[in-house]
């Protein structure tokens, strides 16, 4: 019985963490898989979302002084996304209008965001929202006395993730969404279709970074605090999840591919939780994510290579025979 309870609570925290991660994975799905841009500003943008969200939830953000406290948790999500979108806009500006290579643009913005984040926290190393309402405390109040009480965080997160998935699914079927996909696929074709690839790149990076910041903000509200380093390594964790999801749902329709991103995040978190149970120290999380990314890229590479070599050596053998 005790074992079952442990398992249940482990499953619950895996779900919570996995669902938050999955928003970043969906963000990268748009920028990395669709637009074909590796956006390395993810870590900083995640922290930006966490910190802006934290400050808004506390009511310490500009414009927030007179606002009713019940609204703050929701404004927190909104402002985090807005600032995320602005950060994405900056990344796209650097790479489309200022001739900076897309990897470098992400890195430069990521570094700059550290200072921005510190400035938003007014120099203090941590935002604590322990004494303020969050979307999670509000739902807990709502579900008080019902069996859903323990699972309220999972329910909120699942709802948000589902909304984002549905949005992406329909968005990617619109002309704008298709144009973003085409920009990642063949930008000569996009120009020939009278669509400006600078516009599609900008829109995609704004949307994608607003999701990353949303993930950061939810993490801040969930853990009731944020610091300037919350984002560190998030891009690799999200990429690892994305690649896991991709291997499961490679040759399927768009809906399943999007769903696969959530599955990837959950699988990644499960593997990590299991590893922790086997006494892997928590600080190994980042090494594990790096390893998964390396393997997810290396394994298909080496199998394709050896398959080719085998094919040709067999051909040679049959010729010699």
């Amino acid at each position: 019985m005790e074992f079952l309870e442990t398992l249940l609570s482990l499953g619950q925290s895996t779900l919570e963490q996995g669902l938050i991660t999955s928003l970043t994975v969906l963000a990268l799905f748009l920028s990395y898989s669709m637009l074909n841009v590796c956006d390395l500003s993810t870590d900083g943008c995640y922290a930006l979302g966490a910190i802006v969200g934290g400050m808004v939830a506390k009511g310490e953000f500009p414009l927030m002084s007179g606002v009713s406290p019940a609204l703050l948790p929701f404004l927190s999500l909104l402002f985090a996304m807005l600032f995320g979108a602005m950060s994405g806009f900056l990344v796209s500006l650097l790479q489309t209008r200022m001739g900076i290579n897309s990897l470098l643009a992400g890195i430069v913005v990521n570094t700059g965001l550290y200072s921005v984040n510190m400035a938003i926290m007014k120099g203090s190393p941590l935002v604590s929202i322990a004494r303020n309402d969050t979307v999670f405390t509000l739902t807990k109040k709502l579900f008080k006395g019902t069996p859903l009480y323990d699972w309220s965080a999972v329910i909120v997160l699942a709802l948000i993730v589902a909304l984002v998935c549905v949005f992406l699914f329909f968005f990617l079927r619109t002309r704008l969404g298709l144009a973003i996909r085409a920009t990642g696929d063949n930008d000569a074709m996009v120009k020939a279709s009278s669509i400006n690839p600078i516009m599609t790149t900008t829109v995609a990076l704004c949307i994608s970074n607003s999701f990353t910041a949303l993930a950061g903000c939810l993490m801040a509200q969930f853990s009731k605090s944020a610091d300037v380093n919350v984002g560190s390594g998030v891009v690799t964790i999200a990429l690892a999840s994305l690649l896991i999801g991709h291997t499961f749902f490679k040759k399927t329709g768009m809906g399943l591919r999007i769903f696969g991103m959530v599955v990837g995040a959950l699988v990644f978190r499960t593997v990590y939780t299991v590893a922790l149970r086997f006494n892997m120290p928590a600080y190994m999380l980042k090494a594990v994510s790096s390893l998964i990314v390396i393997l997810a890229v290396f394994v298909p590479y080496i199998t394709a290579k050896t398959a080719k070599r085998r094919h040709f050596s067999e051909e040679r053998r049959s010729k010699n025979a």
């Binding site: 079927r173 619109t174 002309r175 704008l176 298709l178 144009a179 996909r181 085409a182 990642g184 696929d185 063949n186 000569a188 074709m189 996009v190 120009k191 020939a192 279709s193 009278s194 669509i195 400006n196 690839p197």
Partner: protein, 261 residues
């Protein structure tokens, strides 16, 4: 309708690889003309198309479309009026997307948030079936799965879904087998005729350069050296063409030598 005035284009200027691809070229095309463009490899034919459609900016000179100066208009704006098929069949369509999605983007109808509608689908089917390649039954296949020839044919449909004012075809049948090439050429001239398009078509096939269209120009060393139309063109044979090319380009060569000595 199209006016090119003293245009030059240099690749990699100021480097060791500097290459003058277009040299002080002037050219005028009237509305409704179907011009075939011939010339040796490296003569600058593809570069000329790229200059017209905005893929490359010129060093100097002017390009006018219906009297409007488009010299500094970006490519994606020019493409509203100028359709283009690339020499490379892979360039004209997005391989990771379906035939339907490619056509939908090319059609450019509806707002940014519109999706593929039933009537779109019917229109695409109808246009594809004109090719006789069975593509209309593969609307949900990824374009990357098509052969080079099928992709080029699809690009032709994409470029003419909204009939452009000027259609540029860069050896668009070079990658196709003879049978398919003939079919695509037939569809091409049908589309051009039905929509009364102004069209320029690059080809290495001298015979079809003379058979198709209303005018033939020859390029060499970044310029237009021969220009035939009307009666003169009607009586021209491939042999005449070869002969005058040798005379003309030989003369150009001699001129260069004289300049050097």
């Amino acid at each position: 309708m199209l006016d090119i005035r003293n245009v030059s284009l240099t690749f990699d200027p100021g480097t060791m690889d500097e290459k003058k691809a277009i040299r002080n070229l002037s050219f005028h095309a009237d509305k409704g003309e179907f011009i075939t463009v011939i010339g040796a490899n490296g003569a600058g034919k593809s570069t000329l198309f790229s200059v017209i459609s905005g893929g490359n900016r010129v060093d100097c000179g002017q390009i006018l479309l219906d009297g409007n100066d488009i010299t500094n208009v970006p490519e994606h704006i020019r493409s509203r009026r100028i359709g283009r098929l690339f020499q490379d069949p892979m360039k004209g369509s997005a391989p990771g997307m379906t035939i339907e999605e490619n056509l939908f983007l090319a059609a450019g109808h509806g707002g940014w948030f519109a999706g593929v509608s039933k009537s779109d689908r019917e229109r695409f089917r109808e246009r594809l079936s004109a090719l006789g390649m069975g593509l209309e039954d593969r609307m949900n296949h990824k374009v990357g799965l098509l052969s080079g020839g099928q992709r080029q044919a699809l690009t032709l449909i994409m470029a003419t879904l909204n009939p452009p004012d000027l259609l540029l075809l860069d050896e668009h049948t070079a990658a196709l087998d003879p049978g398919t090439a003939e079919k695509v050429l037939k569809v091409t001239s049908d589309i051009v005729r039905e929509n009364k398009l102004t069209c320029m078509m690059i080809t290495h096939n001298m015979q079809s350069a003379l058979d198709l269209g209303t005018r033939t120009v020859m390029m060499d060393h970044g310029n237009i050296i021969l220009d035939y139309s009307g009666d003169e063109r009607a009586h021209l044979t491939v042999n005449d063409l070869m002969k005058s090319f040798r005379e003309k380009s030989g003369a150009a060569l001699n001129n260069d030598r004289m300049l050097l000595s």
